[in-house]
């Protein structure tokens, strides 16, 4: 009896150790990766690196256009993906339950979430660049990225909406609210935190994507700042990818510096979103 228990205790401890060990492996590889990049690129990150145009000379090259391109891409991507994603999620969870159309959409969305991002690039190339005639513009790139991240927003919206207890819907309807009023005034506010989490995740995904942008024609060398959605563009991950393919060591240093900027950018974006979410939780919960 006691022997069984002591074996169980040992197993318990062992499992804890194994879990810690694997977590350490994951953390360690992340630390090594970031450390390596910091060592290579940190000295290169300065103001002129941020505001210089691209150049053939590694020491004069900057990421101004790439940064501007990335921000514009992100803005247009989010403007398209967020409303469509949230509304689709609400439709599927609140209105379309059990209809054949909803099931059809659902199957497609789960499939889309598993499609490699290059495929989205090819879809975007045909649909936006060629058929719609947007060319290799910011808009074409944004719409392609929007397609890519929409499944993430839809799925997280659905999860968040599903987590709202039915008793709240009933309470609202019993007060004479219509379905729309119930969704708008009760369900949406109550699921906002979860929806925001999905948006944060999808934003990070959109920032990091390179492959579909290469396919839809983001340029590696853009010596000007985009002024509208129809302009040509480059984006930071494209710029980094381009630099890493150069043989000169100085360009690799530039790439490392670019990665640092991108990490900081992503980190700031997540921090803002998480702060917003926590503030909202506080307001709603207590």
């Amino acid at each position: 009896m006691s022997r069984k228990r002591s074996t169980a205790k040992i197993k318990d401890k062992l499992f804890k150790l194994v879990a810690i060990a694997f977590t350490t492996i994951a953390l360690l590889s992340l630390v090594l990766l970031i450390g390596d990049i910091l060592i290579k690129g940190f000295a290169r990150v300065n103001w002129s690196f941020l505001v210089n145009l691209p150049s053939r000379h590694a020491d004069q090259a900057g990421i101004y256009t790439a940064l501007a391109g990335m921000v514009s891409l992100l803005v247009f991507t989010m403007i398209t993906a967020i409303p469509i994603g949230i509304l689709s999620g609400i439709y599927l969870e609140e209105y379309g339950k059990d209809s054949w159309f909803a099931r059809f959409v659902e199957v497609n969305i789960s499939n889309l979430a598993g499609v490699p991002s290059v495929i989205y690039g090819i879809l975007g190339l045909q649909l936006f660049v060629r058929t719609t005639g947007l060319g290799n513009s910011i808009l074409a790139g944004s719409l392609t990225l929007a397609l890519l991240i929409m499944p993430i927003i839809i799925v997280s919206t659905r999860e968040a909406v599903k987590a709202v207890p039915d008793s709240l819907r009933q309470g609202s309807l019993a007060l004479g609210a219509t379905k729309w009023q119930t969704v708008y005034k009760v369900v949406l506010p109550a699921s906002f935190g979860g929806i925001l989490t999905g948006i944060i995740l999808s934003t990070s995904r959109a920032i990091g994507e390179t492959a579909p942008l290469i396919v839809v024609g983001a340029l590696a060398y853009v010596p000007f700042i985009p002024e509208g959605p129809m302009d040509q563009y480059t984006s930071l991950p494209i710029q980094i990818y381009n630099w890493t393919t150069r043989p000169q060591a100085d360009f690799v240093t530039n790439a490392a510096a670019g990665i640092i900027v991108m990490l900081v950018f992503t980190f700031l974006l997540n921090a803002v979103a998480i702060t917003l979410r926590n503030r909202w939780y506080k307001k709603v919960k207590i």
């Binding site: 059990d98 207890p165 008793s167 709240l168 009933q170 309470g171 609202s172 309807l173 019993a174 007060l175 004479g176 609210a177 219509t178 009023q181 005034k185 009760v186 506010p189 109550a190 307001k283 709603v284 919960k285 207590i286």
Partner: protein
């Protein structure tokens, strides 16, 4: 013809009435041929074992059963003599006239203030003074004002279970319905909160017609004027509360109230 004019007489004399009401969930019949009238400004209790149809019947009055797919209803339900299943009825307007309190307190994750004004807000009421007045009136009637008047803008979820349930009652009466339906409003609460809710329900009788579903026979005996006993979807006995508990006419009723099943 004679039958019909009698029905109308029953319907007009009562605040609420059901006439030969049957309800089906798909193939399964949940309510069988129920006919009863509920008088204005009384408290009527529905008792019976789980699954006897009392909650289902309650939800016929504010048409909350409409939300469940495959529900079919035969017969007639009236409010103030008018059929509430008629085609032209605006079900949202109808529900505003019939407040409902649920088994588990279900305050919205909003402030206490926003909870109480929810019904007015969806009606488009924007006047600050009207809203403020309504909040004070409704919370006072719900015996909660003194406890929360300094914290109106705190989250309703920070209240205790009993306070939350009284807030839900305040939310329901804020839109000035004429009927209050209560589906086991105290079953999730401790005895002290339950006593407060019961006291509150009795005090609301002057302003509202109250129908309460309860599992607790002592509760029915304490607060209601009339009691209806349901069993397997049928209305077995419906009479003055005192009579039903001291001198039940049907064997099924007697067996239930003496605790032989339940």
């Amino acid at each position: 013809m004679v039958q019909k004019s009698q029905d109308i007489a029953v319907a007009t004399a009562n605040k609420l009435s059901a006439n030969r009401l049957s309800l089906y969930y798909g193939e399964k019949q949940a309510l069988r041929d129920i006919t009863m009238g509920i008088q204005a400004n009384t408290i009527t209790a529905f008792i019976g074992p789980s699954g006897c149809g009392k909650s289902t019947f309650l939800r016929c009055f504010n048409r909350m059963n409409d939300l469940i797919p495959n529900v079919r209803i035969d017969g007639q339900v009236t409010l103030d003599g008018k059929d509430i299943y008629r085609k032209k009825l605006d079900v949202y307007e109808h529900r505003k006239n019939i407040g409902m309190v649920f088994q588990k307190p279900n305050p919205f994750p909003k402030s206490i203030y926003d909870n109480v004004v929810f019904g007015l807000d969806i009606n488009g009421e924007r006047s600050r003074s009207v809203l403020d007045q309504t909040v004070e009136d409704a919370l006072t009637k719900a015996a909660l004002w003194d406890e929360v008047k300094d914290n109106l803008h705190k989250s309703a979820l920070a209240l205790s279970g009993g306070q939350q349930q009284r807030l839900c009652i305040a939310r329901a009466i804020a839109v000035k319905p004429s009927v209050l339906l209560m589906d086991e409003p105290a079953s999730a609460l401790d005895p002290i909160s339950t006593a407060k809710i019961e006291e509150l329900i009795i005090s609301l009788k002057d302003s509202f017609t109250i129908v309460i579903v309860t599992h607790n026979m002592q509760q029915a005996a304490r607060i209601s004027d009339k009691t209806a006993f349901f069993y397997l979807g049928e209305l077995i006995e419906y009479t003055d509360t005192g009579t039903l508990f001291t001198n039940p006419q049907r064997e099924a009723t007697e067996n239930y109230i003496t605790g032989r099943y339940g």
